[in-house]
Amino acid sequence: MSGILVYALHYDGAINKNSLGAVSEGARLASELGTECHAIVVGDKAGLSDEVLAPLGAHGAAKVFRAEGPEGLSQPVVDAMAKVIGDNGHGYALFGGGLLGFEIGAGLAARLDAGVCMEVTNVRVEDGKLVAERPILKDSQISDVHYRSDVGVIIGRLNAFEAKEDGAGSAEIEDVDVEYAAHSLKATMVERGEQRGADVNIEDADVLVAGGRGLGKAEGFEQLEALAGALGGAVAATRAVVDAGWYAYAAQIGQTGKTVAPKLYLAAGISGAIQHKVGMQSSENIVAINKDSNAPIFEFSDLGIVGDLNKIVPKLTEAVKAKKGS
């Protein structure tokens, strides 16, 4: 039976939302293929109770493989998935995206000599096989990817797969013993999930004013805070400026940050790389200010302003205040 095995990431007693999306997608595809969708979790078993794993069954997993192992690192999961696939003959490994999904999927492809495709936005069944669709060249084209290996590795783009509780109910839980490769235990977690910067809430804001590297320096965020204040919204940031220490991690949009869909997303000095786009493209109205007319963000903004944000933002703040005051 060539089933689908989905990696389920968990942290602090909860299964990752993108992993649940991948389980839902896996269950949909498995039913079309006439097979089953299974999930695998790797971690401290004490923290992986039946209750913590219950959402996996509710999203469509028929079985959950549970392996005791280190958390937050990719290589132990490669060992665990290679073993489970070897023992059960899964035809596909599916990931919901995110940093670990990329690492595990690539490592697993190497281990199994399997085809791998990342940033997948859609998967369909064709002649009893899965075909992955991947946007390429800054999303200007979509390519079909066919697998020519015993196992196909599919790594979804963040938020590509919607989490749906289909009421399928509970999954059977099977504990597996994994003998980890020597190299898989040579990276050890010292600290996981450290929060840097203030704890801000951007997910509930109707208006977000987001800043990127184009601000030039950390102080550039002051004018965005003023504009966000005038618009009645909050300030968000790209990964580049968070990694540079200019703004709080809690305000970060994109691949390893938050996913938002406010009524208005105003991006200042943001080029619009895929890793950022995946976190904000569902916003109702996207306004971009960037001095580079070739910036990819203009490809998916509703209103684009080519110009110097340092000139535009302060005047815009005043004009918004005046308009709202009138």
């Binding site: 791998v116 390429i136 084209q141 290996s149 490769a181 990276a187 009524k263 684009g304 000139k311 918004v320």
Partner: protein, 264 residues
């Protein structure tokens, strides 16, 4: 110890990239730049060498690609690498991630490096996965998207941003580490270094020299086969304003926001 840095030549960001419809492969003509992410990997290698906390004997730039990829190696050497290694063979052309990672692992195996560094992604393929493929073949611990490396008792203390915040991971050597662009500010090569780059040793090897199984590489053996390129669903192009008179620009933005009731 020996550090190998994986580098790649990519199309200049200003050159429009496209797929050659007759082959279904990326048209790589007009390539001339070292992948910008790789310059951070070379800089990380140089900082480890100059930092003195571990003894680095050699930094070797390694690439796989056609004849022209030598330019990426010259650039890497001008940024500080001591010598370079070029894997080039027609049979490798068109390899997918799986085949490319396997081939690079084979050529790296010849050098037995204590550390392999690479940029977290290539500017053209938009893929963050080669490091993990190489690491699995070399059976080394691996971490991607690292933004800080410190030496601690002969191990590397690495920081990166992951799904739930910043993680700190201690990695034993030998290891494969891919770095993000926040890790450092790459230096500019000196004129002397640029002039001297072509004089540094450059070794060229073919697939057979490093034991690459021809059945695992090349376009025809790609395990993941790309085809049938199509355009994504059209999104209606947004309105664009070129800012010439800022007062006028701001007026237009406010009117646009007001029309959509975003200033209520």
């Amino acid at each position: 110890m020996k550090i190998c840095v994986l580098v790649k030549e990519v199309p200049d960001a200003a050159v429009e990239k496209r797929i050659d419809p007759s082959t279904g492969r990326l048209n790589r003509s007009g390539e001339k730049n070292l992948n910008p992410f790789d310059t951070h990997a070379i800089e990380a290698a140089m900082q480890l060498k100059e930092g003195g906390q571990i003894d680095v004997d050699e930094v070797i730039a390694v690439t796989m690609g056609p004849e022209t990829a030598v330019r990426a190696l010259h650039k890497a050497v001008s940024l500080g690498a001591d010598r370079s290694l070029h894997l080039t063979d027609e049979t490798l052309s068109g390899s997918d991630v799986n085949g490319t990672g396997y081939s690079l692992a084979q050529v790296l195996g010849k050098e037995s490096p204590d550390l392999v560094l690479l940029g977290q992604q290539s500017d053209d393929g938009e893929c963050y996965t080669i490091g993990a493929v190489v690491a699995d073949h070399l059976q080394m611990p691996s971490l991607t998207q690292v933004i800080k490396i410190e030496v601690e008792d002969g191990k590397l203390r690495c920081e990166r941003q992951a799904e739930y915040g910043y993680d700190t991971v201690l990695v034993e050597l030998p290891a494969v580490i891919s770095v993000g662009d926040a890790i450092n500010e790459p230096r500019y090569p000196s004129l002397k270094a640029i002039m001297g780059a072509k004089k540094k040793p450059l070794e060229s090897v073919a697939a057979g020299d490093v034991g690459i199984d021809a059945g695992r590489v090349g376009y025809d053996n790609a395990r993941a086969h790309c085809s049938e390129f199509k355009a994504p669903p059209e999104k209606q192009a947004g309105k664009i304003i070129e800012d010439e008179d800022t007062n006028d620009t701001v007026e237009q933005i406010v009117a646009w926001l007001d029309e959509r009731k975003l200033l209520a």
